[in-house]
């Protein structure tokens, strides 16, 4: 092999990588999230020596199941270019209502559909305000946040213990594979993520969500049902919040009206870290799953180090900053090339 063929191969390789990068530019932030997740895990393993254990990794999914579910719903909303601030409060409302209904003797078969419907109803309210009354998503979901938080306190001012066996089963059951285990809540979270990813990538509805986020005007001119899609994403987010309320109640064994204050911010941060652009149009449900796992790993690392949990918020804030600056750079580069 002489020198010229070497440079030629090098050129083809770099050309191939360039085409690959161009074609999959929207995947880059998600790749970055996967990379960060891997680096975090390996770094923690090297530092602590006993981090990458099956027990720890199983707990990671278990502790963050409700966040995964919320992040899936939020991804749909953000990809359309909207935002849903109400998720934390809706989770608190459905959680406390679930505990309250169970405590007064209703069966779980009635209660669970009811609380998920409640989540959907608040999502519907937000969606209708956004779509039919031209209210900015920020303000409409703010109304949803206030409404759900207040109603949570109307249901009960204090926490209510859950003694219903079928709800507790969601949390206490451990399906084991050697040292690894998974709870029904974990299965629930993973299935929500998989269903979400499937709907987003392979159904007409999912493609419409991307189209609306990319350019609403064009989507409308293409004859897509923009109105229905935009209302539907908020309903999806509400359903996810309702489900998250159930999971959190099972996880903590009680409903508590102060649950989930500020969770909407954690969820938005996780979704952005997972590679979804807040301007809409680009994003992946599975990326959000990675985003939540990054969030969860940082929390675990900090508790391993015995440091203040206050650091979690600071590090997540910094990571969010890094991601939005990088995203901004990608957008600016794309605009220049045009």
């Amino acid at each position: 092999m002489n020198a010229s063929t070497v440079t030629a191969t090098r050129e083809t390789v770099s050309r191939h990588t360039r085409t690959f990068l161009d074609r999959h530019a929207s995947l880059m932030p998600t790749f970055a999230a996967v990379l960060i997740f891997a680096v975090l895990l390996i770094g923690a393993q090297i530092h602590f020596g006993t981090f990458l254990t099956p027990l720890n990794m199983s707990a990671l999914l278990l502790d963050n199941a409700y966040l995964v579910i919320l992040a899936v719903g939020m991804t749909f909303v953000i990809v359309t270019g909207g935002i849903d601030l109400s998720v934390g409060s809706v989770m608190a409302l459905t959680g406390i209502w679930c505990a309250d209904l169970l405590a007064s003797g209703h069966s779980a078969a009635v209660v669970v559909p009811l609380i998920i419907l409640a989540g959907a109803a608040i999502g519907l309210l937000i969606g209708v305000l956004v779509q039919y009354f031209d209210v900015q998503p920020f303000i409409a979901s703010l109304a949803g946040l206030f409404l759900a938080r207040g109603l949570a306190f109307v249901v009960s001012l204090d926490s209510i213990r859950v003694e219903n066996e079928s709800v507790l089963w969601l949390q206490t059951t451990r399906w084991r594979l050697g040292e690894w285990y998974i709870t029904p809540t974990g299965v629930l979270a993973l299935s929500v993520a998989l269903i979400g990813a499937f709907v987003m990538q392979f159904t007409r509805f999912g493609r419409t969500v991307y189209a609306v986020g990319g350019n609403e005007q064009s989507a409308r001119l293409m004859g897509l049902d923009v109105a229905r899609t935009k209302v539907a994403v908020y309903v999806i987010s509400g359903v996810c919040a309702g489900l998250a309320g159930l999971v959190l109640t099972a996880y903590s064994g009680a409903g508590y009206p102060r649950n989930g204050i500020g969770t909407e911010l954690d969820v938005i941060a996780a979704v952005v870290i997972g590679g979804t652009l807040l301007t809409g149009g680009t994003g992946y449900v599975l990326g959000s799953l990675i985003g939540v796992l990054v969030f969860g790993t940082i929390k675990t690392v900090i508790s391993f180090m015995g440091a203040e949990q206050a650091w979690t918020r600071i590090i997540i804030g910094l990571m969010l900053l890094m991601f939005i600056v990088v995203q901004r750079a990608i957008v600016v580069r794309a605009e220049r090339r045009r």
């Binding site: 303000i139 703010l142 206030f146 109307v154 001012l157 807040l278 804030g317």
Partner: protein
């Protein structure tokens, strides 16, 4: 008459007056102001006094919103400035000395100013969406405040500090003077100089105003610095009131109430035209509502339900679809009246 009704402050002012009348009817002692030791007390005075932190934050938010932005970090900035101020006072040899307290407050406000400048840098220089840019500090800010107070609630006993929120000057609460000073300063600077018009220009069309020679970056940057600084002062008033720096509870939900006050006052969230007087009215509406609920015995935790109703009503009133429906209804009535009229004429 139509001119009065059409004035953009009509509906906000009308709501506030209606709320006050309602309160007076339900509890006559609402309007009562008693004089004790040459100081005024009463429900109205309480509203004026307690509205100070929200007033400062909402004023800053008005200017930020006018530039097409939003500042979500104000609550976190309040927590940081309160934490910085009280930690300095707590660590001083003499927490009761006025000079210590003044220095501590100056440092707390200075830190808040820097945080505002940080937001301004992200939005104006790096061109990051305001919601996301200020979300960073909203997330990280409370963490920083917790680190400053070592995760505890720092309590101090310091008379000069307490004076800020509970003290009286010329028979009126001192906190009221802070609000009035901020309102006056902002109104004068924004309305007696060209700055207000330039701010609106940036909010209406940043690109066009830049091409017209307006320094839009500088104006946007300044708006966030102002918002941060005012939030810092609000944080000091808050911690003076509870005599403690509580990193979690300080300014909780205040960004939402401030945005609500701005919108209630008639400033649109899409930026551009703003009204300081409207925001002032908006803040008083919120504070009066809070006072009403307290009187009605609604647990303060449940009050968000009422605010949700208020938000929904306000956005519905502002929505173009409702305007169309309303116009359709009144237009329909008018034409029906007209036809009835002509029928009568024919009969005659």
């Amino acid at each position: 008459m139509t001119k009065v009704v059409k004035h953009r402050l009509f509906w906000p002012a009308f709501s506030l007056v209606a709320l006050i009348v309602l309160n007076t009817v339900v509890r006559p002692q609402f309007m009562k102001i008693t004089v004790r030791d040459g100081e005024l007390y009463g429900a109205l005075i309480d509203i004026l006094r307690n509205s100070a932190p929200l007033m400062l934050v909402a004023l800053g938010m008005t200017i930020v919103i006018a530039t097409r932005g939003i500042d979500l970090s104000v609550g976190a900035v309040m927590a940081v400035s309160g934490a910085v101020t009280l930690t300095i006072i707590d660590g001083a040899e003499d927490p009761g000395s006025t000079s210590t307290v003044l220095v501590a407050m100056a440092v707390g406000t200075g830190v808040a100013l820097l945080l505002g400048a940080w937001n301004g840098f992200l939005v104006a220089v790096l061109d990051i969406q305001p919601i996301v840019a200020t979300l960073v500090l909203m997330l990280a800010g409370r963490g920083v405040a917790l680190l400053i107070t070592d995760g505890f609630i720092t309590t101090v006993n310091s008379e000069p500090l307490e004076y800020v929120s509970t003290g009286y000057l010329f028979a009126l609460p001192f906190a009221l003077f802070i609000s009035v000073a901020a309102i006056t300063a902002i109104s004068l600077v924004e309305r007696r100089t060209a700055l207000g018009v330039l701010t609106e220009a940036v909010g209406i069309n940043p690109e066009a105003s830049r091409l017209a020679g307006v320094r839009s970056r500088g104006i946007t940057f300044g708006a966030y610095v102002l918002s941060g600084t005012l939030a810092g002062v609000a944080g000091i008033i808050y911690s003076s009131n509870i005599r403690a720096a509580d990193a979690n509870a300080a300014g909780e939900f205040i960004e939402l109430y401030a945005i609500l006050a701005v919108v209630l006052g008639g400033t649109s969230l899409v930026g551009g035209k703003f009204t300081v007087a409207g925001t002032v009215i908006g803040v008083f509406i919120i504070q009066t509502l809070k006072s009403t609920m307290l009187f009605l015995g609604v647990p303060s935790a449940q009050s968000p339900v009422f605010f949700a109703a208020v938000v929904i009503i306000v956005v519905l009133i502002q929505s173009p679809r409702v305007h169309r429906i309303a116009r359709g209804l009144t237009g329909g009535m008018r034409s029906r009246n007209l036809s009835a009229h002509s029928d009568a004429e024919v009969a005659a």
